[in-house]
């Protein structure tokens, strides 16, 4: 287990994006130091809360929040 610096910027590993993007998987925001995907209210499954790996909203979130996490959401598209 790595006890990482809490200020470390989270990045989506390229190899993950390469594998899950073609499958239609999406990402959603997860609260810092938590597993709860309902950031900013309920409904992580709502389309407006589901993003591609390159989505600016997601990258901004990862850069700003520093300690945030990300989720791989398998949605109804596949």
């Amino acid at each position: 287990m790595n006890n990482q610096d809490s200020r470390k910027v989270v990045e989506i590993p390229k190899s993950l994006a390469e594998k899950v993007d073609p499958l239609g998987a999406h990402f959603c925001l997860v609260a810092p130091k938590d597993k709860n995907p309902n950031v900013g209210g309920k409904g992580w499954q709502k389309p407006e809360n589901l993003m591609r790996s390159t989505d600016p909203k997601l990258t901004d979130w990862l850069a700003k929040a520093a300690t945030t996490a990300l989720s791989v959401a398998s949605d109804w598209l596949f």
């Binding site: 287990m1 790595n2 590993p13 993950l16 594998k19 130091k33 589901l50 993003m51 959401a73 598209l77």
Partner: protein
């Protein structure tokens, strides 16, 4: 894509040993692993250890999982530990690999059904989240898990032996395999019952009363709205009174439990008692009748259940107890059959051991009975065995239904139809149907039953019920849920409505069959003796019976596509099919037959298989006889009567114009022949049946264009066509069915065309140039601009995959069945997204508009487009334009 979350080292080991290597992430929390697979998982799979603790799960569509690079609440990072491509696996592979830990689907279904039942039967609906204390539970997706709030977990606060599913309003204890709805939880939490007792029938009598009182106390339900006495009082409610049984008397008691009326148990259905009930309760006749019927039925069921239990216990005692090595032999044999490419062929020796002769009949019936395993109502089949008394019908029905959850009904009565619980049964075994075609119900009494109609939800049947006032019978309609029915009859003709819906099988009543049975009985007797002397451990019959039973128990339905419907209709004959239902029956049979040849079918995705022409021809060969009977409305005995009619002739002496006397033979099989009572009597002798049977047959034929009748007594029939014409029609059908193998190339051609069109719905066909040219540009643009439009993304998804997939249009006809076909993906938008549908146009709640292809929809596929012009292009390219309507020609 699915993700297997393994929380313990044992599961991690099983993944490494039994599943292909795949992209894997390690969680910094419990050193658990997330293994990513490509799999068409339909429902999540839960994993638990021997103590009932949750040790992982497999989640798929609609779920989320924390991905690599994320930071755990403890500060650790989710690391990729195996950076390899995602491995493709099947659900079965996953279940097999993790078998010791998989929570059986039937257990989850039982818990959910208990919750549904609680809601249905009590009509009291507290919310599960209102009742279960959530403190100490963690949220996992839409569910909650944690240590059991009453008996706790071995792992203390970190335990995971208790789950709550708010969507299904149920809870589930993994330690005791129990669970149900909110009231059942209340019973456990209040200590009224133990957690281990929380099963489907736990909420009864005094327990239920106490639970309701607690629910009122806690404010979950309003005391004013719930009449606790209504739910907990024993007896049958009738207005503001109750009917109660005490010894051999029946009492009507008021709300204070004081008796106000009584009668003997046998008189409860009598007109005098009912009249008094009407006067006292002030209820209508129908309501009183319903209450007394319900009361009588309850009394009968209690009696029956006692008798039934005794019978079952006896049967259990009679069941041979196999030794361990015999058990192992049976298991190996069942596995061998399940693994075989041609399962029915492997089962044939076993079918021979339990049913003598009846070669194709027993196989076809065995295949048709699998419809009992399918949940879809439209798959349910009705099977009717026709033959004379003691002809072996009941044996066939009894031996072939082993392994299914059967409901045996001697005959339908009004009571039975009102209260028989058919919903939990897979097959309804109906003994001797009776005179379903008779209108003179007064003479026939309660066994008379008439099928009026059927739809996907079940069958409507009509039943004569005696009117207490007039003493006459009147017809009442009942609804039976859709269920696979197997029944027998000695009648030659039945209600045509019923015949249309059934598979007709004629049992073999030949002398050869009798000889076979005699020989088989002798063999079985010999083996029994050997067993008694310790020379063998079991008889062939016992062994095969057990193998068939266990095989049936292990059968799991699959979806089979028939890719050559048009050629199939050609084989069956457009003009002969009377109702569309006939074709549906054949389609369904082919699908069931496919289940026995699963390994030879082409698999499209997880649970969808494609039928091959060879398997189709095999299946048709098996049902040639019942199909011929079905399509021509004739059965074997009817054929015998026609044959006898050909043989009957009279020789009369006539004088010619020259004054010579010559002998003239009069035949009765020619057009215009009159079939009088005398002729019928001779046929009766010829076919060895009763005159009534023969008359019934001609009566039946007089409804067809073959025969007319004068309606007098005794009736005389006139042949409108000669017998040979009728027979030719029969043999024509037979010939067509028997040579169905000649149409294999046609089937292959049609199959390839259909499959290609299905696949191209997801990819893009070659001629679809306009879109193809712009595909790459489109993809990027849409990713940028329309990411939140789910429908748009789907189109992108389709287009992306089309870039990587070669068109299958060039696939040769020889190759189609061998080629590994790509997975057909689902592309239907969620119902919850849809605001309204207008023809092909679908408007989403967020204002987006979609167009669905009406022509693809006829193939059971849905393909969506963003504009009408896109749809037009698709139709021009793929379907070669809109079809011309017949009316417009």
């Amino acid at each position: 894509m699915v993700i297997l979350d393994a929380d313990i080292p044992e599961i991690k080991r099983l993944i490494e040993e039994k599943l292909p290597s795949t992209f894997t992430v390690e969680s910094p929390g419990s050193q658990g692993r997330h293994a990513y697979y490509l799999c068409g998982l339909e429902k999540p799979i839960r994993l638990r250890d021997k103590e009932g603790e949750n040790v992982g799960d497999i989640q798929g569509t609609g779920k989320m999982c924390v991905g690599p690079g994320s930071i755990h609440p403890n500060g650790g990072v989710y690391e990729i530990v195996a950076d390899v491509p995602l491995a493709q696996v099947t659900t079965q592979q996953l279940i097999e690999a993790l078998k010791p830990y998989v929570v059986p689907e039937r257990e989850i279904q039982r818990v959910e059904e208990t919750a549904r039942r609680e809601k249905r039967e009590t009509d009291i609906k507290p919310d599960i989240l209102q009742v279960v204390p959530l403190t100490g539970l963690h949220k996992h997706g839409d569910e909650y898990y944690g240590p059991h709030p009453v008996h706790g977990s071995q792992h203390g606060k970190n335990g995971k032996n208790f789950w709550v599913n708010p969507a299904k309003n149920c809870w589930h204890c993994f330690r005791h395999d129990t669970g149900g709805g909110p009231l059942l939880w209340l019973a456990v939490e209040e200590g009224i019952i133990n957690c281990s007792e929380a099963g489907p029938r736990a909420l009864r009598g005094e327990v239920f009363k106490r639970v309701l009182e607690k629910a009122v106390e806690r404010g979950y339900i309003d005391a004013k709205q719930v009449n606790i006495q209504k739910y907990t009082r024993t007896g049958t409610p009738i207005g503001n009174y109750w009917l109660k049984k005490k010894h051999k008397k029946v009492f009507l008691v008021d709300e204070d439990n004081k008796p106000v009326l009584s009668c003997n148990l046998d008189s409860v259905d009598g007109p005098r008692f009912k009249k008094k009930l009407r006067e006292l309760t002030g209820l209508e006749e129908a309501e009183v009748n319903r209450a007394t019927t319900s009361f009588s039925f309850a009394v009968q069921s209690i009696r029956k259940s006692h008798g039934h239990m005794e019978k079952n216990e006896e049967a259990e005692k009679e069941e041979p107890k196999f030794s361990e090595d015999v058990e192992a032999n049976i298991t190996v044999e069942v596995e061998r059959v399940l693994e075989a490419e041609k399962q029915l062929e492997m089962l044939k020796p076993h079918l021979d051991n339990v049913v003598v002769g009846e070669e194709s009949n027993k196989q076809a019936i065995f295949v048709l009975l699998t419809s009992g395993k399918y949940a879809k109502p439209e798959m349910k089949q009705m099977i009717l065995l026709k033959g004379t008394a003691a002809g072996g019908k009941s044996t066939l029905s009894r031996e072939l239904t082993r392994g299914y959850k059967t409901k045996n009904v001697g005959r339908f009565t009004a009571h039975a139809l009102d209260y028989a619980d058919l919903e939990g049964s897979e097959v309804l075994v109906l003994k001797e149907l009776g005179a379903m075609d008779k209108e003179d119900t007064e003479k026939r009494g309660l066994s008379t039953l008439k099928f009026l109609s059927s739809d996907d939800r079940g069958y409507t049947v009509e039943m004569p019920v005696r009117d207490e006032e007039t003493g006459r019978f009147k017809n009442t309609q009942y609804k039976i849920p859709a269920i696979t029915i197997i029944s027998t009859t000695t009648r030659l003709t039945l209600d045509p409505q019923f015949e249309r819906r059934t598979w007709l099988f004629n049992v073999d009543e030949t002398v050869e069959q009798t000889k076979k049975i005699a020989f088989w009985k002798a063999q079985n007797e010999k083996q029994k003796t050997q067993k008694l002397l310790g020379l063998r451990q079991y008889t062939d019959y016992e062994f095969s019976k057990e193998v068939l039973k266990r095989f049936v128990e292990k059968l799991e339905p699959i979806n089979v596509i028939i890719p050559f419907p048009e050629t199939l209709t050609e084989i069956l004959g457009y003009n002969i099919l009377r109702v569309r239902g006939d074709l549906d029956k054949v389609y369904n049979f082919l699908k069931f037959y496919g289940l026995f040849n699963k390994k030879r079918l082409q698999q499209l995705n997880e649970n969808v298989y494609v039928l091959t022409p060879e398997i189709c021809v095999e299946a048709i060969e098996l049902i040639v006889e019942p199909l011929t009977n079905m399509l021509s409305q004739m059965d074997e005995r009817a054929k015998a009567i026609l044959e006898a009619l050909k043989k009957v002739s009279d020789v009369t002496q006539r004088k010619t114009a020259d004054g010579e006397t010559v002998e003239v033979e009069t035949k009765y099989c020619l057009k215009g022949s009159e079939i009088t009572k005398k002729v019928r009597d001779r046929i009766t002798v010829e076919v060895d049946k009763s005159e009534r049977t023969v008359r019934n047959f001609f009566n039946f034929l007089s409804n067809t264009p073959f025969i007319s009748s004068d309606g007098k007594k005794p009736i005389t029939y006139t042949l409108l066509v000669d017998v040979e014409t009728i027979e030719q029609k029969l043999s024509g059908i037979l010939e067509k069915l028997k040579t169905s193998n000649l149409l294999i190339p046609e089937m292959e051609k049609e199959a390839q065309k259909l499959l290609n069109s299905l696949l191209e719905n997801k990819t893009l066909r070659e001629g679809y140039n306009f879109v193809k040219k712009n595909v790459e540009h489109d993809v990027e643009q849409h990713i940028e601009s329309e990411i939140i439009n789910p429908y748009r993304r789907e189109m992108i998804s389709n287009r992306q995959s089309s870039l990587n997939q070669a068109s299958l249009a060039e696939t040769s006809s020889e190759d189609w069945k061998n080629k590994k076909l790509p997975i057909i993906q689902r592309d239907k938008p969620k119902e919850s997204w849809i605001l309204k549908r207008e023809g092909n146009k679908i408007t989403a709640k967020d204002g987006n508009v979609l167009f669905v292809c009406p022509l693809c929809a006829t193939h059971g596929k849905q393909l969506f487009f963003n504009s009408q012009s896109d749809l037009d292009l698709h139709i021009q390219g793929l379907h070669y334009g809109y079809p011309i309507k017949k009316g417009g020609q």
